[in-house]
């Protein structure tokens, strides 16, 4: 099945520097299947028009198609269509939220984050805290970078936070968090719960009704879709009560110089011409993804992850960080005192595409007391052969470094 699926991703068939490509950077952005590329192509060839505006056929068709993707997304996440807002991506959604929730914060109120968060889920909250005098409390994690769930629940009880914002899965280490339990633990305190689903959206296909979070953010480009588009889910009353973030056309009800009234969510958060083509491309990505069996794909990714771990553990001097049991298929490692950049650069000369550095998680790296890692992130379009090529290249890389 996987060999068939791999053929759907044209870029994976290409040579890079005359070598076959082993793409292990899906946590940064996934490759795109042909159906997504075709949808984008077809839109500009045959369907291009602005949405929600013209009286003409093309505009009506574009609007229908664009809005149909909102339905697909709502179905994917198991929420209502008016609870999903199109944004530029996870970062944009988090900024909208932190801005919108600044109102509810006061002096010494607590925002709970984890040390595993991406900078996009730290800095906007830091700004909100600076404006309001609120404080940021961090959930405890181990030396290896694994969340201590029971200590986390205790911290929530002790701090009674106004807001919790947590990644469902860590981009740097791949750890999957039991956010459902933490959300439950925060219920008695009326905490607003935000889940950063940038990494879980594709691998875990979360059911937001089951998670019971108040808000959820993600980026389409990490789930087979185009860049520049993503979303924000919000429980409708909470979402609709947020103040407007950016203003302009589309999101208004009436405008006069005496004053302006805004539309309700989701429109009130979607000013200006949206990323129409991006949304339509993402619609094709959702169709593609949902045509594949969720459990089969996940089981396959997990087996690849296990294989990768097993092979890596056989190499002396490799240290693997994070939670290797509950993981979306990311392996973040260091080798003795070698610099992650040297390893990644040498791997690249074998056609192995990995990421090296701090992965936009500097506080996490500081906690682990390292400057960065080499990160291998898997998706269902990887295969065992990719991993074998990676291990062979890594062995030669190590040999070169130790010469």
């Amino acid at each position: 099945m996987i060999e068939q699926l791999r053929k759907d991703f044209p870029l994976l068939q290409n040579l890079v520097d005359e070598q076959p490509l082993c793409y292990f950077d899906s946590a940064a952005t996934t490759q795109k299947p042909q159906v997504v590329i075709d949808a984008v192509n077809q839109f500009y060839h045959q369907e291009n028009a602005n949405v929600h505006r013209g009286a003409h056929t093309l505009s009506a068709q574009a609007t229908t198609k664009y809005e149909a993707v909102r339905d697909k997304l709502a179905k994917y996440l198991n929420v209502q269509r008016n609870e999903v807002v199109w944004t530029k991506g996870a970062t944009d959604s988090l900024n909208l939220l932190a801005y919108g929730l600044t109102n509810i914060l006061g002096q010494d109120d607590v925002i709970v984050l984890s040390p595993l968060e991406h900078h996009a889920n730290i800095v906007p909250w830091q700004q909100a805290a600076e404006k309001t005098g609120a404080k940021i409390a961090l959930l405890p994690i181990s030396k290896e970078g694994v969340l201590d769930q029971s200590a986390a629940i205790e911290l929530i009880r002790d701090t009674k936070p106004k807001i919790i914002s947590l990644c469902h899965a860590s981009n740097a280490l791949g750890n999957i968090h039991d956010v459902k339990q933490l959300i439950e633990a925060s219920k008695p305190y009326g905490t607003i719960t935000v889940v950063d689903g940038a990494q879980s959206f594709m691998h875990l296909r979360p059911d937001l009704k089951a998670l019971d979070c108040d808000f959820f953010v993600f980026s389409a480009h990490k789930a087979l879709g185009p860049t520049g588009v993503g979303g924000l889910y919000g429980r409708y009353d909470l979402l609709n009560n947020l103040p407007v973030y950016q203003t302009g056309g589309e999101m208004i009800d009436t405008v006069s110089f005496a004053g302006t009234t805004f539309r309700n969510a989701p429109e009130k958060f979607e000013p200006g011409t949206p990323n129409i083509c991006g949304v339509i491309g993402f619609g094709a990505a959702l169709d593609y993804l949902t045509s594949l069996n969720k459990n089969e794909l996940l089981a396959y990714e997990q087996s690849l992850h296990q294989y990768l771990l097993t092979r890596l553990r056989q190499i002396d001097g490799i240290k693997i960080w994070g939670d290797n049991k509950n993981n979306i298929g990311v392996v973040s490692f260091t080798y003795k005192n070698e610099h992650h950049f040297d390893i990644a650069t040498l791997l690249n000369s074998y056609g192995i595409a990995v990421r090296s550095g701090h992965h936009c998680t500097q506080p996490l790296m500081a906690h682990l007391n390292i400057t960065g890692t080499v990160r291998v992130s898997l998706a269902f379009y990887n295969n065992q052969q990719d991993i074998d090529s990676f291990i062979a290249a890594l062995m030669e890389t190590i040999e070169m470094l130790e010469e």
Partner: protein, 135 residues
């Protein structure tokens, strides 16, 4: 090796592994900077990895003496190449040496990530700035 020897050696090597091996070897031959010299002032901004650089003139001949280090082997090798371009030059000649151009000619810029390419640029610019201050 002087810069011409380095250049012809690198050009003669086939394949990126061989070139990187040679670059790392050049880095190894560059003496390590003593820890006390790895100060924030000496750090080159705009490099993704840590690079420290000190520049002065030698007393008797008034030629450039540059010492530098990095925490990555490959960048240290690149530093060795840059230093081979500038060390021993007269300050007035240094402004006309374009190490970045040389890296481009050797095809190294294309292969390095853009941030590394910028790093090379940042190092070269820092050298030129400091030379200007000396003059």
């Amino acid at each position: 090796m002087d810069i011409n020897q380095i250049q012809s050696k690198l050009n003669s090597l086939k394949g990126w592994q061989a070139k990187y091996r040679e670059i790392m070897l050049l880095g190894k031959q560059l003496p390590a900077l003593p820890e006390p010299l790895k100060t924030p002032d000496a750090q080159v901004k705009g490099c993704e990895s840590n690079v420290w650089l000190h520049l002065d003139l030698d007393e008797s001949q008034q030629r450039l003496v540059i010492i530098a280090d990095s925490d990555t082997r490959i960048v240290k090798g690149l530093l060795a190449i840059i230093l081979a371009c500038y060390n021993n030059a007269l300050p007035q000649d240094a402004q006309s040496i374009d190490a970045y151009q040389l890296f481009e000619e050797m095809g190294l810029i294309k292969h390095l990530s853009p941030s590394r390419g910028n790093g090379v640029k940042a190092i070269v610019e820092q050298i030129k700035r400091q030379v200007e201050v000396l003059q």
